[in-house]
């Protein structure tokens, strides 16, 4: 009788230990708001660097793995548009900026297993189970575009404003939180769809 009671207890104890070791793993997830992107602008000497982080919903209208041919063409088109940095974020022509490089990446995140072993692995996993990415399954996919631009400007101090063609190219996007690091200090702004222009007078 006693024997019988001890066995479940031991099982319980080992189960506790197992869950404790699971608690050690690292779980964290960034915020993700549809319609709301982030734009980071940094200027040093003649280099103007712009970073865009935007939810997939803003750019292509969906965040699941591109499965159908239609989705795939949408994705390709969006990527091509994203690569034309000077059309999305246009500085004054007097500044003489030329795009020197661009890097477009699509990152996927899963809420249920944000273990963070590397984004590539997540993307691969998502491919394996592309049939069960319904929200009813308790699994939410979020994908985020991460674009890095580098521009070479003849006179970066002549940038007095930035015109956002971005909102026209991607009608789902509503708002961008803009952070600027310029020689005269840091500043932050909010640029909205209905006024797609950023005044930077006296900032550069």
């Amino acid at each position: 009788m006693k024997m019988l009671r001890t066995i479940p207890l031991a099982a319980l104890l080992s189960a506790c230990a197992a869950s404790a070791s699971q608690a050690d793993e690292h779980r964290q997830l960034g915020a993700h708001v549809h319609g709301h992107g982030k734009l980071n602008i940094a200027v040093e000497k003649n280099v103007l660097a712009i970073e865009l982080e935007a939810p997939g919903a803003d750019i292509v209208g969906f965040e699941h793995e591109a499965a159908t041919a239609e989705d795939k063409t949408k994705l390709e088109k969006a990527k091509a548009t994203l690569e034309k940095g000077l059309e999305l974020f246009t500085p004054d022509s007097a500044a003489g900026c030329k795009q020197t490089s661009v890097k477009v990446a699509l990152e996927a995140e899963h809420e249920d297993e944000a273990e963070g072993k590397g984004k590539e692995e997540h993307a691969a996993k998502a491919k394996d189970q592309k049939d069960d990415h319904d929200h009813e399954e308790g699994e939410h996919h979020h994908s985020e575009f991460h674009v890095e631009y580098a521009f070479e400007c003849a006179a970066p101090d002549k940038i007095t404003n930035l015109t956002f063609g971005y909102f026209k190219a991607f009608p789902n996007a509503q708002e961008l939180d803009v952070s600027v690091i310029a020689p005269k200090g840091q500043s932050s702004y909010e640029v909205k769809k209905d006024k797609p222009k950023l005044e930077l007078k006296g900032v550069m």
Partner: protein, 419 residues
Amino acid sequence: MIIVRLALQSLANRWLTACLTILSIALSVMLLLGVEKVRTGARQSFANTISGTDLIVGARSGNLNLLLYSVFRIGNATNNITWKTYQDIKQHPDIAWIVPISLGDSHRGFRVMGTVPEYFTHYHYRRGQPLAFSAGAPFSDLFDAVIGADVAAQLGYRLGDRIVVAHGAGAVSFLEHDDKPFRVSGILAKTGTPVDRTVHVSLEAIEAIHVDWQSGARDPTKAVSADDVRRMDLTPKAITAAFVGLKSRLAAFRVQREINNYRQEPLSAILPGATLQELWGLVGTAETALSAVSGMVVITALLGMVTMILTTLNERRREMAILRSVGARPSTILSLLVVEAGVLTLLGVLVGTLLLYGALIGLQPYIDRTYGLHIAVDAPSVDQLKILGGIVAAGFFAGLLPALRAYRLSLADGMTVRT
């Protein structure tokens, strides 16, 4: 032109009321422009609280919270950063310098901050101005303290004075580190930033005064004397936050992301300048209210002027009648009064602007010294000129009310004066 001369001469005849009206308009204009100047000055001073620091790193929390406790010494940290993490961040190849700070103790209501001597060279304010010592030097001994200008002025401290740090951040504390007093080794010049209200000591000193403390109280059985503590290992176990300078601004966002994703400990890195603007956005509603109030004052002054002209109309029936008798048309009477109101407003605006600039030039050094508020004396901006122009136009327009009345009267009364 003759109308302007007539208006001026008519005003000269009533110089006392005219002068008072001009003065009230002048004062209202001065208030309006002054509020605007103080507003931009305050905004600048606020944005200039910290400069030259690319990132501030603290435990994971909201941007504003981290900025408030690390720069403004308002509120408390959500958590500390372990010394090991600090060392890790320090090794980052993009980081040019890093200055740790440790908060939590106070001295008679002023916060005590543990830091390293590099703080005094790297902490900049107001467009890259470094901290300056009005007396003394950074800490050289373990129990040296450098105090801000307000601390020195309000508590009357001088170099060499002994001060005792209290445990905790309250204004009144019953737990004091009185076994290990500090010596004032330096006094900083006024900056107009929270640095003025801070007592700076070394990180090791913060560690030293807590060596024989356990769970928030001193343990008498383990008392360590001030001399013995010098021989102990005083490497801090934790810091509250760190100011970071980068080698290149371009790396700022990348380093920020890396710190935010640091796996061993939940951290937040913020861009202090950008966060300051966010904070100002919250405080900024008050400035709108101020502008609204000063706008009201201008309207009141204009109304006062209209009242003044209206009340004198009755006495001036004879003046109007004489003008009519020498051939002035009713429309001339109308323009005469409109010009009168316009001239009064124009003079008021001019005098007000001059008074403001006189006051600014006279008071600016004083305001800078006592409040740390730097108000720039520069030409009014285009927007302000537009507002001033608007006020003058409003003056002319306001003159229409008494003018129309005089116009009607001059038609009805004809030449007779009924008394």
